[in-house]
């Protein structure tokens, strides 16, 4: 509703604006508060976490909880495993989805309708239907507790293929036709002409894939049970078992596992939010 110009209504307008901000600030406290509590707890000695009333700011600041995490878990390895898994899955999913999405959007070939319908059916099925056979395949390949076991089944994505197809269909075809008339073959058109134009779509899929890989729990929990080969999410789950009373260490661990996503999000927040809105239809 536009700004009210008349001076007689201004106070009412201001009162409403204050009320709106009050609601939004209260909501922000609920959203941010837990993270601040996590940070505060991570900086406290263990004894202070069981103190009543709780100290809002630590009396004794300490960073040793963060080093304790590294002693309780191969945290560095887990971090590296998670980064490699996320990069591997994301690079492959974005590349393969873009290729397949482009083919489905622009090329005609026998069987395309049937294949596309089959891919779509994968989207309807809950993830755990795939898990038992995926586990058995990985086991038979001897890939339990390996990096490729974490990456290979998630190199392709029905969701990504669909999303990229939708994106390519929204692009105008003129430039592609011009390139083709100049003698470019379909791969050159795709690689030199289309991909540079598709940057927003590729970025959106990249962000969504990075998020879901970094946060994935059930699959890594099942296929990599050796702590040296675990991802952060599975590793944190095990940390909770061994130290489930020492919340200052737990909070330090979960803070470190979450921090990279938070930093990337804050740096790229406009793109993150656009990707989500993009995934949600127009």
């Amino acid at each position: 509703m536009p700004e009210v110009q008349s001076s007689s209504r201004a106070p009412r307008h201001r009162a409403r604006s204050v009320a709106v901000h009050a609601v939004l600030i209260a909501g922000s406290v609920v959203m941010l508060g837990p993270f601040l509590w996590e940070l505060v707890t991570a900086l406290k000695p263990f004894s202070e976490t069981t103190q009543l009333p709780p100290t809002l700011l630590p009396h004794h600041w300490q960073l040793s909880n963060f080093t304790t995490v590294f002693r309780s878990l191969p945290f560095g390895r887990m971090f590296l495993n998670t980064v490699l898994m996320t990069v591997g899955r994301t690079v492959c999913q974005v590349a393969f989805s873009a290729m397949a999405g482009y083919a489905f959007a622009r090329m005609r070939f026998r069987g395309s309708a049937v294949l596309f319908a089959l891919f779509l059916s994968v989207l309807m099925v809950p993830g755990l239907v795939f898990l038992i056979p995926q586990y058995l395949i990985i086991e038979q390949l001897g890939w339990l507790n390996t990096l490729q076991g974490l990456i290979v089944p998630m190199m392709c994505s029905a969701f990504g293929t669909f999303m990229m197809r939708q994106f390519f269909m929204s692009l105008p075809t003129d430039i592609e036709e011009a390139a083709r008339l100049d003698g470019a073959n379909p791969w050159q058109v795709f690689w030199r002409v289309v991909l540079p134009l598709a940057r927003p779509g590729l970025l959106a899929l990249t962000i969504l894939t990075v998020l879901s890989s970094w946060n994935d729990l059930m699959y890594p929990l099942i296929v990599n049970t050796d702590p040296q080969k675990m991802t952060l999410s599975a590793g944190l789950a095990s940390l909770q078992g061994e130290h489930f009373t020492d919340y200052s260490v737990l909070m330090a661990g979960s803070l470190m596992a979450t921090a990279p996503m938070i930093v990337i999000f804050v740096l790229l927040q406009r793109h993150f939010i656009q990707s989500i809105a993009f995934s949600g239809g127009k």
């Binding site: 989207l123 993830g127 809105a277």
Partner: protein, 322 residues
């Protein structure tokens, strides 16, 4: 990521088919197309399409610990009926889903507040509300478990300031599911908010001006203009919430499990929180009962299909596409 696309598929088939320009590659052979879809076709066939058939087959078999499989017909499905934890898991999952749905209107209300013209700090609020969406569910569940802690937790401390003695939120069977559901709301609120905000920003300002000229108050304007015009977004968020909630696992697993501790010391609230996915995980990968686990997976499939079909049937009555 499955659910996002599930909606786009059914929600926007028209857009996909309507664009019939000349397709640049028509005159080239099929070779390029097959090369470009090859990785995805192979990957999805091996790791997704074939597994659907296999899991269906396993659900009719009994097995040793991932050994051979013997055909047992409907035995697993009959056993589902005799296992009280199955019915309880279904109830838990449905209750959890219902609570997530009940929170959707609040996200729409906050989005409407954020969408007011001239509001200062909109993007800051949006970032703050969105922060839980990008954080690892395992870490989030751990954080909330600490806040829910009965004796030293933040929640009970805050309640004690107003004279309330709170329960052990994460381990009291009467409260644990609601505690888990609150985390789910906290984590998905920002996502729903962003979807709604995108929808609200597409509503032309003239509609609101016309309503103001006609003397409609804010409540009436919200119900008569805002809600119908964002109904496609409400529908999307609803479908997505249902599909995600029916598959809830991470938070329940983190709230209930104590992996390092001895068996038998599980959280006493587990039976009242165990979701269908959690039951699947236990049966298939802790007890190694593949056949029963596969049957549980198809119980979930049945629910997802059923609820999604109902939602798409109902959408004709209340969703308005411009």
């Amino acid at each position: 990521m499955t659910p996002f696309a599930a909606q786009r598929t059914a929600g926007q088939p028209a857009r996909a088919g309507s664009r019939r320009g000349r397709r640049p590659s028509r005159n080239h052979g099929w070779g390029w197309a097959y090369l470009m879809i090859a990785p995805t076709t192979i990957g999805l066939s091996v790791f997704y399409l074939w597994p659907i058939a296999q899991t269906l087959y396993y659900s009719f078999t009994s097995s040793g610990p991932f050994g051979g499989h013997t055909w047992t017909g409907l035995a697993n499905y009959q056993a589902l009926g005799g296992d009280p934890s199955v019915g309880q898991s279904v109830l838990n999952t449905l209750l959890y889903t219902g609570i997530q749905l009940a929170a959707i209107p609040f996200a729409l209300l906050v989005a409407a507040l954020l969408n007011q013209p001239g509001l200062r700090g909109r993007s800051v609020y949006r970032v703050i509300f969105f922060l839980p969406v990008v954080t690892m569910p395992v870490a989030v569940a751990m954080l909330w478990r600490w806040m829910y802690q009965g004796d030293y937790g933040l929640v009970n401390y805050l309640l004690s300031l107003v004279g309330i003695h709170g329960p052990h939120w994460a381990s009291d069977p009467d409260y644990a599911l609601y505690s888990v559901a609150a985390i789910g709301i906290w984590m998905s609120f920002g996502y729903n908010l962003v979807i709604f905000l995108a929808g609200l920003q597409g509503i032309p300002a003239e509609y609101y001006e016309a309503a103001r000229v006609d003397g409609a108050g804010p409540v009436r304007t919200f119900l008569r203009i805002t809600v119908p015009l964002v109904s496609p977004n409400i529908f999307f968020v609803t479908v997505l919430t249902v599909i995600n909630s029916l598959q809830m696992f991470d938070i329940a697993y983190m709230m209930m499990s104590t992996p390092g501790s001895a068996a038998g010391t599980a959280n006493p609230a587990l039976p009242r929180v165990r979701s269908i996915s959690y039951l699947f995980f236990e049966k298939a990968f802790v007890e190694h009962d593949t056949g029963f686990g596969a049957a549980v997976a198809f119980v979930l499939v049945a629910f997802v299909v059923l609820v999604t079909v109902i939602q798409f049937r109902l959408q004709k009555r209340w969703v308005h596409y411009a």
